[in-house]
Symmetry: C2
């Protein structure tokens, strides 16, 4: 049961202009917060804010927490403290910590004062673990039992516990007086055992645990490897602190994979939904890498120059010194774009109908990047290698042209591939790079021919 | 609680020489099958087989199913039919289907005859769904209830069901007479409701379902998006067929991510554990891409040649025609290696102490690939572009040298980075490509200088 993205988006847009709470609420009733959140990625901040303000606080909070961090940050700044305090209070603890990352430290501290003391204390406890550790992502709301507890009393506890006190009761952890984890059994086993059986006889003893300071990615890969639903988190002395659940593990793995994919394509930064990033944020994630690679690539030019000047017999001309720079810049820029778009397509953040949205982000991004590289290239050619004004100008002009071309190819080919039913990942970085090599050189030589030989 | 890989491996190796069942079994008791399987990746087939044969059939089956497909295939071929029939019978249905992929169709058919009829029928039903669909990966062993069933009778059913009849009873699906899914509620809710409450009053109605023919990757991304533990799978007429659980979803997502990462680095093939692949399999996954990219890259050479011959004013010499070919081959080969190794490091398939194992696979692979590309390059230069014997030989010699160099850099830099605590993904394809560009050209020019000018 998938929503048609376009229809849903039109519906959200028109709802953002409705001022009647009841209409907005009833229209969105029955939708899952994750679906509403996905629609928000394509709304402007003011449109989204209009809808959020009409929703009841609980739904609004759930939508907010499903949003990509970058996007949530924009909304959070616009919402009143009273609303945020309510959010913080009703959110599961691990999500509350996510909210913390989106707020100014002062503001977050102030919020902790207005929520129930017990919740504030738990938040502070989890915040003590290093960022990126599993301790930050665990929940303390697991169900525990005494080794001597009978199944009857355990089921009675589950029956009488306040709604929402436990994140899950599917696994029951057996803890001794020193808070050491002795074993675990499932709720199903509790039901199937005799009511008078005690926990220590029902439980399984061999349990894989993870220390709270372990990196979340490492812990998440363990959850995946063993096919666990939840993994107990312990402190340095083996006392049980909480559980790390598979849904959080899956999010961690997916974000880590996205970051790795982007890094392989030379894009830095967190796993943020593509559409939630502005052109400036795209430039910020890509330009430092490109400049570093560009400067490194001038080494290749220096190699050419060295052999060209040292050895006339090889016949290497000044125009060719810049070939690695030009095709390198085009290839790297193309890699970045195709990697980013391919990942966004794989995660469903971008669809084939979004090509115009993609062009509107990629072309300005490429223009800014191209102008920066063109400037550096000119300086290098004119002042560094004393290549003379005409050749330096050829380089300065060719770079933005090649980068724009690479961005166009790198973004349109994966989307086109997906449209005709080919796996977009086949339009891989090496493929785009090779394609841009040949076509980028034509751009370079055509500019060179016009400027240098005046043909 | 992580195992020290080296110690564990030594232990496994010595166990593979022990002929006493009881010793082997008691040594491995308490270990999870996933852990034993991980050790197997580093054993030879005969060592692994010795251990498998000493284990009881259930444990052996569980180890087998945790192995990467390529590896499992090798063992399965060596195990007697009687053992395999036992495996097939005790394995969960979705794993049994995996086993099917590892066997000859005839042999699998024969096995289906010897296992209980009901299980054989379920396997045949699931096999009817297209490969890669969620229908193949679902389990039919979900717990269902009639809309009028009381909580008391549901809990009694759970209590009395044969061990292992249901994959999970954490969610209870409410199904009407036409097998349509009406709603769902958790086992916890069943316990918390009054014993006399009926299912239709306890259940939640809004349920996200997925058609059985949906691609498994698509369905798995939905499971991740919503944070579900299990997702109901329905047929075209909305009748419930089974559930797709989060552990299977996570495996699907991880494999799809691995395949996407490898494709971005121009490596084709399934997500197989790096160490389970032989040198020939590595060549098979890489060479077709490299040859295709190499042939495409000759286009760039043609562009250079065109401008070089057309326009003397640009001063482009024959030696430079081959620059894009040389640095392209080095860059693409380096990309493939660094992408493969980085992913294997991220998944924990390869550790920093495995550098020698990696070198022993990568260098022979690169040699084979380099010789192939060198041959194609020679043919292209000598017969295609009539570049003369000396220059053609320079190209033929430079290509294997650059490819070997690229493979060394591409495999050692990520491992080295991880060793000194830097994220190996930073040693990205563009980084390696740029580095190999400059150094690869030095190799090319040094060979050229010696051959062409005799210096």
């Amino acid at each position: 049961m998938k929503l048609d993205v376009k229809t849903f988006l039109d519906r959200l847009r028109s709802l953002s202009r409705v001022e009647n709470r009841d209409v907005v609420r009833s229209e969105l009733e029955g939708l899952l917060p994750a679906d509403i959140a996905q629609g928000f990625e394509r709304l402007s901040t003011s449109e989204g804010l209009n809808i959020l303000r009409q929703l009841d606080d609980e739904t609004a909070a759930q939508v907010l927490i499903e949003l990509p961090t970058e996007l949530a940050r924009r909304y959070v700044a616009e919402l009143p403290d009273t609303t945020l305090a309510f959010y913080l209070d009703i959110l599961p603890m691990d999500d509350a910590l996510e909210l913390q990352e989106e707020l100014e430290p002062d503001r977050f501290e102030a919020l902790l004062e207005v929520i129930p003391r017990e919740d504030a204390l738990e938040i502070r406890r989890l915040m003590a673990f290093p960022e990126g550790s599993v301790g930050r992502l665990m929940t303390e709301d697991f169900f525990e039992a005494d080794p001597e507890a009978t199944m009857e009393s355990i089921l009675a506890d589950i029956r009488l516990a306040p709604e929402g006190k436990y994140e899950t009761v599917n696994d029951i952890y057996v803890i001794d007086g020193a808070r050491h984890l002795l074993g675990v059994f499932s709720l199903r086993q509790a039901i199937r055992a005799e009511p008078s059986d005690v926990a220590k006889d029902v439980m399984v003893e061999a349990i894989v645990t993870v220390p709270a300071t372990e990196e979340a990615e490492e812990a998440a890969r363990l959850v995946a490897k063993y096919g666990f639903y939840a993994m107990p988190v312990v402190d340095a002395r083996g006392r049980m602190l909480g559980i790390f659940t598979v849904d959080d593990a899956q999010e961690v793995v997916s974000e880590a994979d996205t970051e790795d994919v982007l890094k392989l394509g030379a894009v830095s930064g967190d796993a943020e939904a593509y559409l939630s990033l502005s052109v400036w944020q795209l430039v910020k994630r890509r330009l430092p890498w490109l400049v570093a690679l560009f400067v490194a690539e001038t080494l290749t030019g220096s190699v050419l120059r060295y052999y060209g000047e040292k050895d006339d017999g090889l016949g290497i001309a000044p125009l060719t010194f810049f070939i690695p720079l030009i095709i390198g810049a085009g290839g790297n820029c193309g890699s970045q774009v195709t990697t980013t778009i391919t990942r966004a397509l794989a995660l469903g953040e971008v669809g084939t109908s979004d090509w115009l949205v993609v062009v509107r982000r990629e072309l300005p991004t490429a223009l800014i990047i191209g102008l920066c590289l063109g400037t550096i290239g000119f300086l290098r050619a004119y002042f560094g290698w004393h290549s003379g004004l005409p050749l330096s100008m050829v380089v300065a002009g060719a770079l933005p042209a090649v980068v724009l071309w690479a961005a166009t190819v790198g973004s349109m080919l994966p989307i086109g591939a997906k449209r005709i039913g080919v796996d977009p990942a086949v339009m891989s970085a090496p493929f785009i790079t090779t394609f841009v090599d040949a076509t980028g050189l034509i751009i370079y030589f055509e500019i060179a021919r016009r400027v240098l030989t005046g043909v």
